[in-house]
């Protein structure tokens, strides 16, 4: 009785957010849901992945057809939704394809923004819950842990996660090309609109040391500064504060440039040449483009950032192709390990081998020696068979002892090696990593 891996779920590719949000497992709900899942008919091991972009159930069981029918029922039951809501939106991956899907999800190849880094952390913490409640067993344990190391490998061997594909991350990326560390840097947000606030937030999240906020209406500056943990500065005295700013986010529209070339030139002089990075998010622009000509000042407007992002998207697509090749190899390696766990082929091969030896020797004996009476023939036949069975008894018992669930790959490999069942290398998997 071997076990199949099955994955059933829906994602941003198959279901709109209204459906996904109804099926999502909030943090507190994951644990009881996992307990229900492993008690569900046909499920031997189970785990759940639930993010804002996907809800997926991974399970192991002996009957894949039953699993394929039961897992959607489980999802509908858990969230008390009509099964009709799920129809056409669920995908089902069997065996190798399920493993591949999980690896791709972990490596963020299936994400809305390919290469985004959050998914791996979510996967890890959600799998930790499954492991803690004992919902996952050795197959899923291995499968998830492989997916984590596949993701890490892809992260380090391909540039998939390196290229920024949002305005905020592109800004951070460019800033890292200028500054050694953001921790001792100060950002100045000019114009506290939504876009500017978002970008400032991202810069702070990436470790920018401090923030100043300037806005035409002082109250709004106060409000945003409080929200972001920054310092409000008066809009009219901007040039006084400009020299303090390593990063400037210009997000205040208007007829004239808010940040003029002369002001930046003075600021650079006062900064003794230390570089300034200016991001212009406003249309019409708020920073004089001529500032970019100054030595040590780097101005990126919305179009420049878009250009960087578009370039990065293309680069990511190329890197994704390399990542897929890594996934292919890793799926094969995992599958090899999984097959190694399967006891039945080994039992069959062992029986066949011994039987072949018995037949061969019997034939040689019968043709080589004097003719035997049928009764004597029968006795020799019985004797050899009994001999073989006695010899095989202990090893077969040992193998069958492992057969509940998946076997012990060491025992299987040992049996295959000791009895010379195949010449290919023993299928002992790599060490599991935690």
């Amino acid at each position: 009785m071997t076990q199949e891996i099955l994955l059933v779920g829906l994602s941003h590719r198959t279901a709109p957010v209204e459906v996904r949000e109804r099926l999502a497992f909030a943090n507190g709900r994951l644990e009881p849901a996992l307990r229900t899942l492993v008690a569900w008919p046909g499920v031997a091991e189970g785990a759940i992945v639930s993010t804002c972009n996907r809800v997926e159930v991974v399970a192991c069981g002996s009957d894949p057809a039953q699993l394929a029918a039961e897992l959607p029922r489980f999802l509908a039951h858990e969230h008390a939704v009509e099964p009709a809501l799920l129809a056409g939106r669920l995908y089902t991956h069997h065996g190798r394809e399920a493993v591949r899907h999980l690896f791709r999800v972990a490596a963020s190849l299936d994400s809305m923004v390919v290469g985004e880094p959050q998914i791996l952390g979510q996967l890890k913490s959600q799998y930790a819950v499954a492991a803690a409640v004992g919902a996952s067993g050795r197959v899923l344990h291995r499968c998830f842990h492989r997916s984590f190391s596949v993701a890490k490998r892809i992260r380090s061997e391909t540039g998939i996660a390196e290229k920024a594909v949002s305005v905020g991350s592109a800004a951070v990326d460019l800033a890292q090309g200028i500054f050694d560390s953001l921790a001792d840097k100060t950002a100045l947000l000019i114009g506290a609109g939504t876009m500017g606030e978002l970008t400032a937030r991202q810069l702070l999240a990436q470790g920018t040391g401090s923030l100043m906020v300037a806005n035409r209406t002082w109250e709004r500056a106060l409000e945003v500064a409080r929200d972001l943990g920054g310092m409000p500065v008066p809009f009219e005295r901007l040039s006084r504060y400009l020299p303090l700013a390593d990063l400037v986010i210009g997000a205040a529209g208007g007829d004239a440039y808010v940040v003029a070339t002369a002001a930046v030139r003075d600021a650079l002089r006062e900064r003794r040449g230390r570089q300034m990075f200016l991001i212009d998010l406003a249309v019409p622009r708020s920073i004089d483009p001529a500032v970019h000509q100054l030595d040590g000042a780097y101005v990126y407007d919305v179009d420049d950032l878009d250009g960087v992002i578009a370039e990065n998207r293309d680069a990511r697509a190329a890197e994704a192709a390399r990542a897929e090749a890594i996934v292919d190899g890793e799926v094969e390696a995992f599958w090899h390990w999984l097959e190694g766990l399967d006891v039945v082929p080994t039992v069959v091969a062992l029986r066949e081998k011994v039987e072949a030896i018995r037949q061969g020797e019997l034939e040689r004996f019968l043709t080589g020696s004097v003719a035997l009476e049928p009764a004597q023939r029968e006795a020799v036949e019985r004797l050899t068979r009994a001999l073989c069975n006695k010899i095989l008894h202990a090893p077969l018992e040992a193998l069958r002892g492992q057969q509940v669930g998946r076997g012990d790959e060491v025992a299987v490999a040992a049996a295959r090696a000791l009895f010379g069942l195949d010449r290919r290398p023993a299928t002992v998997g790599e060490d599991e990593e935690d």
Binding site: S156, E157, T158, G159, E162, A170, D173, L174, Q176, G177, I178, F179, D180, R271, R272, G273, R274, Q275, H292, D295, G296, Y298, Y300, D304, G307, V308, E311, N312, A315
Partner: protein, 272 residues
Amino acid sequence: MEIVLLRGAAGLYLAATVAVLAGLVVRRELPARALVWLLGGGLLLQASSIAIRASRVGSLPVATLAEALSLLAALLVGLFLAIQLRASLLALGAVVVPTAFGLTLAASVLKGGAQPLPPVLRSVWLPVHVLFAFLGDAVFALACSASVLYLVQERRLKSHRGRGALGRLPSLETLDRLSATCLTWGLVLLTIGIVTGIVWAHEAWGRFWIGDPKLVFSMLVWALYMVLLQGRITAGWRGRWAAQLTIAGFAVIVASLLGVNLLGLGMHGRAY
């Protein structure tokens, strides 16, 4: 024997050049780690080659251009390894390692029969003067490499093209600081090199100033870098201007290294 070791070192530096470029392009861990071993191995071979030659001529072997280039390459690789082991700056290697390979290759190709030093120059000042002067040159070479990378990175940023496929160059700030640090140390070493040279000249010929072209060049470099350092400290010179000056200063060093020795001018031309 020395020439075999030297060729071995050149071979390893070539492999290291490939490794450093591969490391920047394919971005795996392996080339960066291989780089350290290849450079370490090359340095070992080169140092052995220099040591054998030294034991043969009885002093630090810097009498011929080939010997000088080899010593310079060894110092450069040693310095880069020291930096690389502290903070990985693979991109810096992309400039430094091919340079070391070129120097070593030139040293192994140039005809370099061992030349004994004229007796008048045999002195304890020889290794002191030469080592300080050469260390200074090597440190300035690093400053120059950092400045070249600075200009590359700065051009990318000014052209609005994002950070591109060149791998991750170090940030402008990092490169600027590295260049400034190397500049300071290079000046200290060069100053010691010049002073010991003058003292040695006095001991050998009884005069302080021998009007040697090498000395003139060195004073020029010294003055240039002193102005640059002063500008950095007091006027906050940084960025493109400082990088260009650093490279210009190093061009003078290269000119004096090659020009003086190849044309055989002055004392440094006849006996390095």
